[in-house]
């Protein structure tokens, strides 16, 4: 396992992530302008979606639907067990507990992408259609979290239906989910012949683009590190232990639903990851009373760096144990 972790830590992607963290901590004036961030995000989502779609076309929907359904269910269930933990274990307010729970049920596309890269780097085969799980796991947890938050708070004279509708719209039609699902469909329509045409842009340089993007993510996460003291020790532990548990759950469910070792690892990674773009946007609109410092810091400054560096090789190790 030490080997697996070291291989990950010395990959360009993770080292550039560390460089971004250092830039933020040393207050270097390095920053990525927003259009560059958007461009890199669009590229990564379209590339991973397209590749996943081609893989679905190859594998056939028959192989994909069961683990995809399981992934969705897992996403919806994670908030149900993390909410009471946050509420009673962490003594957080109901709305904050619901908000954080939603983030940990939802997923981080970049963590997923980094994991596929890691598996490729160490020559561990995996089911490319796992991107489908990424696509279906983003929304359910957000909806569950918003419902939890609304039930728990019920502000005087407020119609919680409207908030849930807002969250649903954000969760289903937000740009990241749209790009991912759309590219997945495009990829599945094109198949291998379409892939041949765009491979040189969407596949060959992919790892390098990811490394550059993780430099920016290091900057973004690093700027949040200053808030660590505001979230307290409970959330710090939560942000590391809960992903480990969810990761193991995901791997196990992957095995149950017939995935190979690689695919199960990826389902573990998804389950362990916490959203830091789609969920914050939806929660901000639907549960405005929840404190963004809490959910953003835990998902972006604790769980994201943990998964990128140590988490991914650990989930693989768990899968190896389970499959051996």
């Amino acid at each position: 396992m030490i080997d697996a972790i070291q291989a990950n830590l010395l990959s360009p992607a993770v080292l550039f992530f560390a460089l971004g963290l250092i830039a933020a901590l040393t207050k270097s004036d390095l920053k990525f302008p927003e259009p560059l961030y958007v461009g890199l995000t669009i590229y990564l989502l379209v590339a991973i979606g397209f590749k996943g779609g081609v893989a679905i076309a190859e594998a056939g929907i028959a192989k994909v639907w069961l683990p995809a359904l399981a992934a969705m269910a897992l996403g919806a269930l994670i908030p149900l067990w993390t909410y009471p933990l946050l509420r009673f274990g962490g003594k957080l307010s109901a709305v904050d507990a619901a908000a954080i729970a939603a983030h940990y049920g939802s997923v981080s596309a970049v963590t997923f992408i980094a994991a596929t890269n890691y598996l490729k780097a160490i020559n561990q085969p995996f089911e490319s259609y796992a991107t489908a799980f990424l696509a279906v796991m983003e929304s359910p947890a957000i909806l569950v979290g918003v419902v939890l938050g609304k039930l728990a708070t019920k502000r005087a004279g407020e119609k919680s239906g409207a908030s849930i509708k807002t969250a649903m719209h954000e969760a289903l039609f937000g740009r990241s989910i749209f790009l991912l699902v759309g590219s997945l469909i495009v990829g599945s329509l094109c198949g291998e012949s379409g892939m041949a045409k765009v491979e040189a842009f969407f596949v060959t340089p992919f790892q390098g683009v990811l490394a550059l993007f993780l430099l920016e993510m290091g900057l973004v996460a690093g700027r949040r590190l200053g808030d660590l003291k505001k979230v307290g020790p409970f959330l710090l532990g939560f942000g590391i232990v809960v992903p480990l548990i969810n990761g193991a759950l995901g791997v196990y469910l992957g095995k149950l639903t017939g995935l190979e070792l690689g695919g199960a690892t990826l389902l573990g990674v998804l389950s362990a990851s916490a959203s830091y773009i789609a969920a914050p946007a939806a929660i901000r609109m639907s549960l405005p009373d929840a404190n963004p410092t809490l959910y953003l810091t835990s998902s972006l400054a604790i769980t994201f760096p943990f998964n990128i560096t140590l988490g991914i090789p650990i989930y693989l190790e768990i899968a190896r144990k389970l499959y051996s």
Binding site: K31, P33, E34, Y37, E216, V220, P280, R284, P288, T293
Partner: protein, 100 residues
């Protein structure tokens, strides 16, 4: 030259409020608006402006005084409690009063 007094209402708020805000502008009867991305710092921390979802927008709208009042009232009631934002009004002079 014949200029006419009008009100400019400026709103600086988190970018996520964009759709809510443009809908409010239409609702109170503004005939147009102008919008751009900004960075900022305020009581709810720093907004560095590299990720659209976490950053700010500035919205400027030219309206008649009565509409400015209505707009500010509704901003105070519906937006101030929910969003990181500031809003202010100022006096301007325009040429085509019928346009606003």
């Amino acid at each position: 030259m014949n200029t006419h007094p009008m009100k400019l209402v400026t709103v600086i708020c988190e970018a996520l409020a964009r759709d809510h805000l443009t809908r409010l502008l239409a609702a109170v009867g503004a005939h147009g608006y102008t919008l751009f991305a900004v960075e900022g710092e305020g009581s709810q921390g720093r907004r560095p402006g590299d990720i659209a979802e976490f950053s700010n927008i500035q919205v400027e709208v030219v309206v008649q005084p009565a509409i400015a009042e209505l707009l500010l009232t509704r901003l105070q009631a519906e937006f101030f409690p929910r969003f990181a934002m500031i809003a202010y009004a100022s006096d301007i002079q325009v040429l085509r009063p019928g346009k606003f």
